[in-house]
Symmetry: C2
Subunit: 286 residues, 2 copies
């Protein structure tokens, strides 16, 4: 039986309950992080904590994220996680029934830490489905953070699944490429690495930032149509589970790429960086 931590308290999974009055349950009023654990070390932990902190500030949820390293360490040990995912979710907690949070809420924020197995993926190149759903605008929501507002991603992902595709490609209302339902997107053309700029309405992915930091190619963050992507030499997608995954086709257009070699090159650089991060931070975590 795995353990979880709710509001700093280590509990067996079967006792992992939250009240129905929690605003995360009522309104998705919170943010979360999913962190890859390798060799017992959560990769780029400080990058995730920084994004979580910024997301909480954008939502005006008062919570001290500095307490999370000790809790994460306690949970990874309790569950003896060597390889897997660490998930941290912080919501505004209970305390008001309408959209306006009470100023002096009875409870503070709610914080849940869990561990999960790393999803197994085949690693074979992915086919994307250009979904009819558009990505919500950054003028509507601070979409650069992992908001507990997953419905747009869920609807897009189900749309891809119904069309026998691995993931969905989401564009914004201006028909510019943003990301997939579950990851960031990149393309390489003439030794330049392109990826949509955050301002297009893009998640500030932790694996995205690692790729931009490690890229062997010059990097350009762009505001581009899907048409520009179609002329690329290679296309790949990233998140904490896939790391880097080649894209070989986009449907229904039926555009094909041979992305495997360049994606494998980037994937190897990420794996190298993870190994090096794990080694450097082992003392802190193990």
């Amino acid at each position: 039986m795995a353990s979880v931590i709710i509001n700093s308290q280590l509990l067996p999974e079967e006792q992992a309950h939250i009240p129905i009055s929690d605003r995360g349950f009522r309104y998705g009023d919170g943010v979360f992080e999913t962190i890859a654990v390798q060799g017992g070390v959560p990769y780029q932990f400080e990058v995730h904590i920084e994004r979580l902190t910024k997301g909480l500030a954008a939502l005006k949820i008062a919570f001290d994220a500095q307490t999370l390293a000790a809790q994460a360490k306690q949970l990874l040990r309790a569950n003896d996680v060597k390889e897997g995912l660490l998930r941290i979710q912080v919501t505004r907690g209970s305390g008001s029934r309408g959209y306006l949070p009470e100023k002096n809420a009875a409870t503070g924020a709610l914080c849940v830490l869990e561990t999960m197995p790393m999803p197994q993926i085949s690693g074979k190149p992915a086919t994307l489905w250009q979904t009819r759903y558009t990505k919500p605008s950054p003028k509507s929501l601070p979409v650069q953070f992992k908001l507990c507002q997953g419905l747009n991603s869920i609807l897009a992902r189900m749309d891809a699944d119904e069309n026998n595709c691995f993931d969905a490609l989401l564009c914004n209302e201006q028909k510019h490429v943003c990301e997939t339902s579950s990851g960031n997107i990149f393309w390489v053309k003439d030794k330049i690495l392109f990826t949509p700029a955050i301002a297009c309405g893009v998640l500030e992915g932790s694996m995205r930032s690692a790729i931009l930091r490690l890229s062997p190619w010059r990097v350009q963050e762009v505001d581009a149509t899907a048409g520009q992507m179609t002329r690329a030499d290679a296309v790949f997608i990233s998140n904490v589970a896939w790391k880097v995954l080649a894209v070989n086709e986009i449907k229904p257009q039926g555009i094909h790429w041979n992305s495997e070699a360049l994606a494998a090159e980037m994937h190897a650089l990420i794996e190298q960086d993870i190994a090096s991060y794990t080694q450097q931070h082992a003392g802190q975590w193990l």
Copy 2:
């Protein structure tokens, strides 16, 4: 101690917990309804159940909403609710960790029924704050239903509160009027009642539909800028708690209206309809 119903089971409020694996908590993956109860009868119950059913279909959540009338009746009796709110939330339940729901989820949908006191409002005319947040597009999400994705409304409502306004006015990216964070909006000009069309990105409010049905003025559903609204004879907003509430100012523009007389006329028609509905449906509920 009030009771709640979770998955058809009547429980004391203190036992009203849900698992952290619920997709409502993780992703806001669900829909809800808030229904006004007067004289022990939930007003327009069938209108709410129809919207809930359509919302669940849009999200592809399998759930039989026809069982809800008996449960609602049981809960209203258990809590002896004469005047108040009945809240029904249905989420996709537990069963998968990523955005894609598992095809054969271990659990089905999760359904929670609660009762709450009717919020007390002064009834004095409201001042609205034109917020910088835009309403999410109906191309991104089926916003005509009450999705458990409240963050846009929450951010807009907090923005209004910080500017000492009662509620926020939300426009879409095309700068066309949609609604407030918590209600629908209407204006009367030369004996015509205007309200933004659902296609603009507007909640299909139950009180909105009652107002359109009972209006003493000819009704026009429009795609309009805030400028068109400013030339109105009266402006008012609606939801299940306020019924009809006059708007006397919009900030920061500082446009003023004398909306009280026409808003009161519409409010009286709604009160009359509620009284008549309660009388007609008493046998079914009491």
